[in-house]
């Protein structure tokens, strides 16, 4: 059974921002929020690393359990999506999420934050329908991973991307163990 996942390789990420721009373009995400953020740890110091933060499409998503209106669901292929028609913007999901993935635009009434938006593995863009009112649903092919400059961000079927990641980690282990 296919199970879509992301892997983030912190030994490869250089914070080029390609994932950010690719996501903005592919999903039409407005200026005030972003589905993917890059966080730098220990900037300017030895050990500096960058981590891309998005929805990780958990196997047992806490947000699904936290959502009071049952707006968030996990698809059979593992992708966690949010129904913006059901969402009430209560932000419970952001309390539950360990990654800070749910985002809220500054577009709600009376300067309140609006309806939750988050990574959908590129299957649903920010606007869920097109100009004809048709619901948009696309193939799960996340552009952040496809465009990743150094292939630090891997996205796809969990078994395949873990295999790719394993190969890399093995190389690093060899280096460490025999000190080439």
């Amino acid at each position: 059974m296919v199970n879509y996942k992301f892997v983030h390789d912190k030994e490869r990420c250089i914070r080029c921002g390609g994932c950010f721009a690719a996501c903005k373009q592919q999903n039409g995400v407005p200026e005030d929020i972003s589905r993917i953020n890059i966080v730098t740890i220990d900037e300017g110091k030895s050990g500096e690393r960058h981590i891309t933060m998005t929805c990780m499409h958990c196997n047992d998503p806490p947000c699904v359990r936290a959502c009071p209106v049952k707006g968030i669901s996990k698809r059979e292929d593992g992708i966690v999506i949010n129904d913006k028609d059901k969402c009430i913007g209560c932000e419970y999901c952001s309390w539950a999420c360990p990654f800070g993935a749910p985002k809220y635009p500054d577009t709600g009434p009376a300067e309140l934050r609006g309806i939750m938006d988050k990574c959908t593995f590129c299957v649903i863009p920010y606007e869920q329908t097109d100009e004809y009112g048709t619901s948009i649903l696309r193939a799960p092919n996340p552009k952040c991973a496809g465009f990743c400059a150094t292939k630090a961000r891997l996205g796809g079927d969990a078994s395949e991307i873990t295999a790719t990641y394993n190969e890399r980690v093995a190389g690093r282990l060899v280096e460490r163990q025999i000190g080439v």
Partner: protein
């Protein structure tokens, strides 16, 4: 931003490929597809979408093309729906980038669709911008250029720019200036890698990166010396990481703890401007320990004893005093690069932009020769070039001292060759003789200006501002044509601004109005011509690794913008040499290049071969870039020059004598002009048994006379004999050209040095007049000491790139996505400096130098130490704290503007090439 929205499957790519890192399984794809058609496949997720009906299918067109920011040469796919460029998709099997792109590349569609584009020709009249027609604009430009040509001579016009143009456009630009009758044409390579060209060309024979980006995977060590590739060339790092995962070491030496340094095994922080001392310290340790490759040095280099003599005084302890690097660190770095071979030395502007830039490059090349790395898979000199086609535009020599293919302008033979090529090419109808061409140039003191080197882009404004008697041309410059040139990338910006105010006419050809339109204080005399972006026209572009790729048109030019080719053709017509520009297609220009540009082997890159490679990209192995089977069998990706014939596979590794020439083998150049003190040098440096074909005048041509052979027979003969047409020579560890003051590099302090004591021991050069203008070296260095700048301006200022912006950033500072990522200009300062002056992170500060001041944000970080500050160089639109937003054309105000570091940068220039010294200046920082 494009308005077309997504429809079902709009922009989704479900192509499966064998090498895609992120590929979907067949099962995954099937599940996704069935998800559309059968709601029941997703009982929970899809119950919302009961009525899934397709919108009218858009006419979708997918075009593969090449990114137009840095020089790595990444491929991407543009998705055009109903004529609107809506999206981009990764070109997943592209042999160089495997789909990967940085933020700039992924924002290409966003840049092209920017509402801030220049939509029609504009003219500034009486202080206001007004729209004019193309016809009127071109008439105005042509009339004024003709008028200046008649009254002051053709040298009173300065042309510059076009670094993002294709090889074809660059060739046309140089040809345009040749026929206009001036060598006053130059482009950004002058301030980018001119010192690399001078340094490598005089050591090896060619002035380019000696391997390819793909070859980075083969290295055992990457030594970054003056490159922050993680920010300047992100996709380059993909290959570096592959090598790292295969056990390669990464060493970074930089004044700043960059993002590249963060990924390194060893980082060393050294003082800006002490590069040669650092490299000599390494060579000293290597020789001390006997780590040099004796066999290589013996067989493939010339002049090793001079190097030995030169480095003997640079012991780690001496070098510690000069570079501020602990001696043990120097020993450690030397041991890593010497014991992990083959290794690359990788540099960008960090090494080139110095008053001793050419010598830093020479020292790097010498290091690689001593280690025996030069000409290996995985080893070599890696100058990563800055712009998408700066390598190609350099090869086409939009430069004031070369004609396309590095034929020197000072030799009449070069002009004779081009008069022949212009007449003989079947691509155009024009005919011109050498005498007619010469007659198009002015004379000074009875000598033709044709064979005189023109102004450099870094100093053109002196041609406007200096008194006529002080410049080496008949009259001052009266008009400047900025063809895709960012004025903010040139140091001494205040003088440049003054010059732009003094000339009669400023012509700006660019897709955006650019900060150049706002910079000069003038109410009339600026004409803006809207050029198409690189995504709106096609042509060949050369990557940093000399690979030619065909860049295709994604969409036709938006608004009233026109391709560069069209503008050249129309202007040429109006200036009276249109018959030399009556090409039917851009491919015709490529064919003229194949005919004319011979010294670097541009015979094999025909439009047909490049397009065939593009269609069969999947047959190329991303490990070595070579096609295995298929229509391109045996060819290397991009046919890296030299590519001597249409059967040649290209040369991925320069100077690799282990492979046969027809398999991409090569060797050092054999043809040098030997100085009087080494009359027998020729016999010593030539390898193999080529017969001397000298003319008996002291110049010994131990090689084939292939460079002016229109038939290509000499190339064929050389290849048949198993030799590259450039012969088989040796790497010149001591420069053959006696005009070089330092024929073997030596450390010289930067023009503005924080160490006056060291200036006494390691002074800079004597003042020198070259590129038509007097250039102060010693005078300025002494002035700095006399004015006590090292006390009054105690911090060393260096500059560099941000990943989100590019060059002068006319494109990227107009992209919403990129501005969201990087909205404002700043100066990086150490927390200690910030606390001492009472400044918090993101407060405004003034950065002041002896030249001027900048008002920018303070970015408080330990990336820099307390003696150094760093500023990105992409910013403009604010000048010494004053926002120029009211001075742009109304619709073209740049989205993000900031003060320019080049207002305060150093007035130092390289002694060989007029490269500006942006990396070392003295400054002080005050709370704003």
């Amino acid at each position: 931003m494009a308005t077309k929205t997504n429809s079902i499957f709009g922009g989704s790519d479900i192509k499966l490929s064998r090498r895609t890192f992120t590929k979907l399984t067949a099962l995954g794809t099937a599940a996704a597809l069935s998800g559309i058609n059968s709601v029941s496949a997703y009982p929970e997720g899809l119950e919302l979408f009961e009525e899934v009906t397709a919108a009218p299918a858009a006419a979708t067109n997918k075009v593969k093309s090449i990114c137009s920011f840095c020089s790595v040469g990444c491929g991407y796919t543009g998705v055009v729906e109903d004529g609107v460029w809506t999206k981009m998709e990764p070109w997943e099997d592209h042999p160089i980038n495997l789909g990967g792109m940085c933020s700039k590349g992924t924002a290409l569609a966003n840049v092209t669709n920017s509402p801030r584009r220049l939509r029609y020709p504009m003219e500034k009249v009486g202080g206001t911008w007004r729209k004019i027609s193309w016809d009127a604009a071109l008439d105005k430009v042509a009339n004024k250029l003709n008028e200046i040509r008649d009254t002051d001579g053709p040298d009173s016009v300065f042309f510059c720019g076009l670094v993002h143009g294709s090889n074809e456009e660059a060739y046309m630009f140089r040809k345009f200036a040749m026929l206009f009758g001036t060598n006053n044409i130059d482009h950004q390579a002058r301030i980018c890698h001119s010192t690399t060209v001078a340094g490598l060309l005089n050591t090896f024979g060619h002035g380019a990166m000696t391997n390819t980006v793909i070859a980075m995977q083969h290295a055992k060590c990457h030594f970054f010396f003056g490159s922050n590739a993680a920010e300047a060339h992100p996709v380059f790092m993909q290959k570096v990481f592959v090598a790292k995962e295969r056990g390669a070491k990464i060493v970074v030496a930089d004044p700043r703890f960059t993002r590249t340094a963060a990924m390194a095994d060893k980082f060393v922080r050294f003082r800006p401007g002490s590069d040669i001392a650092f490299l000599y310290g390494l060579i000293n340790v290597i020789l001390e320990n006997g780590w040099e490759d004796t066999e290589y040095v013996e067989n493939r280099t010339y002049g090793f004893e001079y190097v030995k003599e030169a480095v003997k005084d640079y012991t780690p302890e001496v070098v510690e005093r000069i570079t501020w690097v602990p001696a043990d660190d120097i020993r450690e770095v030397a041991s890593i690069i010497a014991l992990n071979k083959p290794s690359n030395i990788i540099w960008s502007m960090g090494a080139t932009q110095h008053s001793v830039g050419s010598q830093i490059i020479r020292a790097s090349a010498i290091l690689q020769c001593i280690l025996g790395n030069q000409g290996e898979w995985g080893g070599g000199c890696v100058p990563i070039r800055g712009h998408c086609n700066v390598q190609g535009v350099t090869d086409m020599c939009v430069l004031s001292h070369f004609l396309p293919g590095y034929y020197g302008v000072t030799s009449e033979g070069s002009w004779d060759w081009y008069a022949k090529c212009f007449s003989d090419t079947p691509s155009t109808s024009g005919k011109i003789t050498f005498d007619e061409l010469k007659a198009r140039f002015d004379t000074l003191n009875g000598e033709s200006m044709m064979t005189k080197i023109g102004f450099a882009v870094s100093r053109w404004y002196e041609g406007v501002l200096k008194p006529e008697a002080e410049i080496d041309q008949p009259h001052n410059i009266k008009a400047v044509v900025l063809w895709g040139e960012a004025t903010s990338s040139v140091t001494e910006m205040k003088r440049e601004k003054e010059a732009m105010e003094k000339v009669d006419l400023v012509v700006i050809v660019d897709p955006f109005p650019t900060s150049a339109s706002a910079m000069p204080d003038r109410s009339d005399g600026i004409i803006l011509l809207p050029a198409a972006t690189r995504q709106e026209n096609s042509g060949s572009v050369t990557t940093t690794g000399r690979e030619w790729q065909w860049r295709d048109t994604i969409i036709p030019p938006l608004y009233e913008s026109k391709t560069d080719m069209w503008i050249f053709q129309e202007l040429a017509k109006k200036l009276g040499f249109g018959d030399h520009f009556d090409y039917n297609s851009i491919e015709d220009v490529t064919r003229e290049i194949n005919l004319a540009v011979r010294p670097i082997g541009c015979q094999g890159q025909t439009p047909e071969r490049m397009k065939r490679q593009k269609e069969n990209y999947h047959t190329f192995d991303p490990w070595d870039g070579r096609a295995k089977g298929g229509p391109c069998d045996g060819e290397y990706w991009g046919l890296p020059w030299p590519c001597w014939t249409t059967d040649h596979p290209g040369t991925p590794i320069l100077y690799n004598d282990k492979a046969p020439v027809m398999e991409g083998g090569h060797d050092f150049r054999a043809k040098w002009k030997y100085p009087d003190d080494e009359p027998n040098a020729g016999e010593e440096i030539v390898r193999g048994n080529l017969p001397p074909t000298g003319d008996g005048s002291g110049t010994i041509h131990w090689t084939y006379n292939y460079a002016k052979d229109p038939t290509g027979e000499v190339n064929e003969q050389a290849l048949a004999e198993g030799n590259p047409p450039t012969g088989r020579g040796r790497a010149m560890l001591r420069v053959a050209n006696t005009k070089w003051v330092d024929r073997v590099p030596k450390h010289r302090e930067p023009i503005e040095s924080p160490e006056p004591d060291l200036v006494a021991t390691y002074p800079t050069y004597e003042d020198k007049k070259f590129y038509r203008v007097m250039t102060e070296f010693k005078t300025e260095q002494q002035r700095s000491i006399a004015e006590n700048r090292h006390v009054n301006y105690p911090i060393v200022l260096t500059s560099g790139r941000q990943v989100e912006h590019h060059g002068g950033s006319a494109q990227t500072r107009n992209s919403d996505y990129l501005v969201q990522l990087q909205p404002e200009m700043y100066v990086e300062i150490n927390p200690k400096v910030a606390n001492d002056i009472g400044v918090k992170h993101w407060d405004f500060v003034w950065v002041k130098s002896a030249r001027g001041q900048c008002k920018v944000r303070a970015y408080v970080t330990e990336r820099v130490n307390e003696k150094t500050a760093f500023m990105p160089y992409h910013w403009a639109g604010v000048f010494e704290g004053q926002d120029y937003k009211d001075r742009y054309p109304t619709d073209g105000v740049e989205l993000a503007r900031g003060d320019s570091v080049n207002i305060i940068a150093s007035p130092g220039y390289d002694e060989q090439t007029q490269m500006q010294e942006t990396k070392v200046a003295l400054c002080k920082i005050e709370k704003a």
